[in-house]
């Protein structure tokens, strides 16, 4: 009998969490404004309590899924008794209500983490940061309770079985992709809260940047992994073999990533040099706003895609209001208070400062162009000016050249010194790398393919241009009287993080350039006994059959694959599944992954006369795309391990005029990396 009450308990816990978030939002902020320690002290216990009650609420919903409690509308609509347990577990966030609850839970988890790991923050800063996060949380919990309550019941007429989870979402990729992405989206709320706290408190110095940086890096790393997982999921689950479609939903996740990438670089300048302050704050606000925009686009139902579960206009309106309020209020605050925190520090046109400024400008331009292509059709539609769509050519035409420009500066950025660099010195250090990059990039396509390919050469050239000067730099910096290894060990984790992150960009670029130009895609008609040759592999259909899975029936094919003339072979088995509960067909791709090439087989459609339309694809270097993203994410995490972020106790004493401090800190760090 007790288990019947579980959804009510969850509902109740959710309400308590909402009330706690309200207290967390109001009391500490008021306390910080009026300098009352007792009020400020409310922040931490409320953050802990809110997290605990959200864990209870989320646990209750998961429990209802696990025990097939179809009296809960959310479970009835998105689960089925035939579903394997792990998909029941992930089905919780495979729908609108559950995913917004997950969003809120993660926000609470980040808040909890801030309250635990920022014990050394000054009391008023912590109160403001947690207060702002409480405000955001309040908005989202209200959204859950008012428009998207996952605990709604179907009583007394509970259905005997559920409608099943959308088959596209019954996949390992879905178990991890959304939580990763959400961790990234929501994680940017921390730096947002730090930015708002700095504006409210009127204090923004190098110490501030040092507090905010680790959080930003971690959130950015999560988002990077989340986007890569989404691309990987689309690749093998949609059955086309595409890895990026410039779909508005994908763009929605790319936008905060681009702004976040600009932000982590601009934070570096703010920490090391004490400049770019108001710019950094503006970026922090923009990044989180774009995360919210992404949530709005995906969750409001303005876009039709696998991600858009909700079609209730009141929900869209609520998120839009939330978005408008957040953006409006924070920009207003920025306009009022930014002049107070800004501080001018000069730098030469040839310096790391200037190069990072260029990085930021280019990244912002890329963000704006992607935003324009994504939102323009929606705006026209909302204003009744016609229905249009903006295709991939638009995005490619802008994204590719802008990325090339970005990478040109990325090659020299890590070498340049803060404040002022010597042109002759820079040229001496990079000319060889440049020449080698160009020569290799020109030659490799010949060796690989027998003919020259401009796009591949361009991709290779910029990838090498990123890597080679960095290797040279690494070589110079690892010089040590106790030998190279000792020298390498002396380099700081922050430096290694940068190296890995940039290396990841280069690896991804190589992947994109090669797979876009050398992929072979053949759609063929095949019957048993037919064979087809693609990229030196012979694919022979040996068998067509059918089988029954736990909640689907499937047509199956067995394809024998031989490489060249060799006698050894392996078998690939693609399937075409029909999920019974929804009567929905699905393509189950057969993949033969490899570091240098993937073989990709998918069953298209039954052509009736015993033959099937088959997709046969050869995808060279596609794994490099996601491998690069993983390297980037790893770099972001590694940079956080740097010693200086653990010295927060001393950092808290840094107040007031920060320029000197920033420069000193930069000098010290600089030597740490150079010697």
């Amino acid at each position: 009998m007790f288990t019947k009450m579980i959804p009510e308990l969850g509902h109740f816990a959710l309400i308590i969490a909402l009330l706690m978030s309200a207290i967390q939002a109001v009391v500490p902020l008021a306390g910080a404004a009026t300098r009352r320690p007792l009020w400020m002290a409310y922040a931490r216990p409320m953050a802990v309590g809110q997290f605990a009650f959200l864990v209870v609420a989320y646990g209750c919903l998961t429990f209802s899924y696990m025990v097939d409690d179809f009296s809960v509308a959310n479970v009835a609509n998105n689960s089925n008794s035939m579903l394997p347990w792990y998909y029941k577990f992930s089905a919780v966030w495979g729908n609108h209500e559950g995913s917004v609850l997950l969003w809120s839970l993660m926000l609470a988890a980040w808040t909890f983490a801030v309250s635990v790991f920022s014990r050394n923050l000054p009391r008023d800063v912590l109160a403001r940061v947690l207060g702002v996060m409480g405000l955001v949380s309040l908005g989202f919990l209200a959204f859950v309770l008012i428009t998207s309550n996952p605990f709604e019941r179907l009583l007394p007429n509970a259905p005997t079985d559920g409608a099943d989870l959308n088959p596209l979402l019954q996949d390992f990729g879905l178990i991890i992709h959304p939580p990763m992405l959400y961790m990234g989206y929501v994680g940017f709320s921390v730096v947002f809260a730090f930015a708002i706290a700095a504006l409210l408190g009127g204090r923004l110095d190098a110490a501030w940047a040092r507090w905010a940086r680790p959080w930003t890096n971690i959130a950015w790393s999560f988002l990077t992994v989340g986007i890569a997982l989404g691309s990987w999921w689309a690749y093998y689950e949609l059955g086309w073999g595409g890895w990026w479609f410039w779909d508005p939903v994908e763009n929605a996740s790319l936008l905060p990533w681009l702004a976040g990438t600009a932000l982590i670089h601009s934070l570096a300048v703010t920490e090391k040099r004490g400049s770019f302050k108001s710019w950094t704050v503006l970026l922090a606000i923009s990044t989180f706003s774009l995360s919210l925009l992404g949530t709005f686009l995906v969750r409001s139902g303005v876009l039709t895609s696998v991600h858009a579960f909700a079609n209730d206009p009141s929900r869209g309106l609520f998120i839009l209001a939330l978005l408008g309020l957040t953006v409006g209020a924070s920009l207003l605050l920025f306009a009022l208070r930014a002049p107070r925190v800004s501080h001018q520090i000069g730098f030469s046109w040839l310096s790391r400062d200037a190069l990072l400024l260029i990085n930021n400008i280019v990244l912002v331009i890329i963000t704006v162009t992607v935003l324009l292509g994504t939102v323009y059709p929606l705006l026209l539609d909302a204003l009744n000016l016609g229905k249009i769509s903006v295709g991939p050519p638009y995005f490619n035409a802008l994204f590719v050249p802008l990325t090339v420009i970005l990478c040109l500066f990325m090659g020299i950025g890590p070498l340049a010194r803060w404040k002022r660099s010597d042109l002759g010195w820079l040229i001496r250090r990079t000319w060889l790398s440049g020449v080698v990059a160009l020569v290799l990039a020109a030659v490799i396509p010949f060796i690989y393919d027998g003919e020259w390919n401009l796009q591949v050469s361009l991709g290779l050239a910029i990838a090498l241009w990123i890597v080679l000067p960095m290797l040279r730099d690494l070589f110079d910096k690892s010089r040590h009287r106790h030998g190279r290894m000792a020298g390498l060990r002396r380099l700081s984790p922050a430096y290694w993080g940068m190296v890995l992150g940039h290396l990841g960009v280069a690896v991804s670029i190589i992947g994109v350039a090669v797979v876009s130009n050398y992929a072979i895609e053949r759609n063929v008609r095949m019957a048993v006994g037919d064979s087809v040759q693609v990229a030196g592999y012979t694919f022979t259909m040996t068998e067509l059959g059918s089988r029954r899975g736990p909640n689907f029936v499937a047509d199956t094919a067995r394809i024998k694959v031989q490489k060249g003339e060799s006698q050894s072979h392996f078998v690939m088995s693609p399937e075409k599944r029909l999920y019974i509960a929804r009567g929905m067909p699905m393509t189950d791709v057969a993949l033969r992954p490899g570091l240098f090439r993937d073989l990709y087989l998918a069953m298209g459609e039954d052509l009736g006369d015993g033959s099937w339309a088959m997709r046969v694809q050869y995808k060279p270097f596609i794994r490099w795309l996601w491998l690069g993203a993983l390297l980037m994410a790893l770099g972001g995490v590694l940079a956080v391990a740097d010693r200086r972020y653990r010295r927060t106790a001393t950092a808290t004493k840094v107040t007031g005029h920060s320029a000197g401090q920033g420069e000193q800190g930069a000098g010290a760090n600089f030597q740490e990396a150079r010697t």
């Binding site: 959308n166 596209l168 059955g239 039709t304 895609s305 696998v306 001018q344 000069g346 730098f347 400024l357 400008i361 331009i365 704006v368 162009t369 324009l372 292509g373 323009y376 016609g386 229905k387 249009i388 769509s389 903006v390 295709g391 050519p393 638009y394 035409a397 802008l398 802008l402 759609n523 063929v524 008609r525 075409k576 929804r582 009567g583 929905m584 067909p585 699905m586 393509t587 298209g604 459609e605 052509l607 009736g608 006369d609 339309a613 997709r615």
Partner: protein, 167 residues
């Protein structure tokens, strides 16, 4: 003007210049990459441009899907139950493509009046109707209930046929 101010001025000028160039490029790229949507009625009225990429959509007319026996060429008729337009496509149709249901094709209208499709998009799940198609059908006097009924009728018939051929 002191040096810092001057630098700030240059930064702002550079920003404005770059932003202008970027917006210009973006608008130019947008202009040539916008795909407008047309319903079969609009195509019959001659409103759609010839040999330029467009999006068109409606219902797939029942019984209109014809497959070539040796290749992957396929043709079908898209209708809003007032006007028809023929679509030819070479390749694999999406999993959820079915007669009597909504579809959007991306392709170019040929002078002879048929569409050469580069891409065929079907719904994502059983409840999804492309919004453009829903609107186009409403404009031609069909309410969502009409085509839902029709779609159910057709899928029932298709399933019955499949069942009877199997037995």
């Amino acid at each position: 003007m002191n040096a810092k101010r001057k630098q700030k001025l240059y930064i702002i000028l550079a920003l404005v210049g770059l932003a202008a160039v970027a917006v210009g490029l973006a608008l130019f790229a947008l202009r040539s990459n916008i795909n407008l949507f047309f319903s079969p009625i609009q195509i019959a009225e001659g409103k759609a441009p010839i040999e330029r990429q467009i999006r068109a959509g409606g219902m797939v007319r029942e019984g209109s899907v014809e497959r070539d026996l040796d290749s992957l060429d396929v043709s079908f008729t898209v209708t809003d139950y007032i006007e028809d337009v023929e679509v030819r496509y070479s390749g694999i149709l999406p999993d959820l493509f079915r007669e009597g249901q909504g579809v959007v094709v991306v392709g170019s209208l040929q002078p002879e009046g048929w569409i050469r499709a580069d891409q065929v998009l079907a719904r994502h799940d059983e409840n999804y109707m492309p919004p453009e198609v829903a609107e186009a059908l409403e404009a031609s006097g069909y309410s969502p209930a009409d085509y839902k009924e029709k779609a159910e009728e057709v899928s029932k018939r298709v399933e019955d046929n499949a069942a009877s051929t199997q037995n």
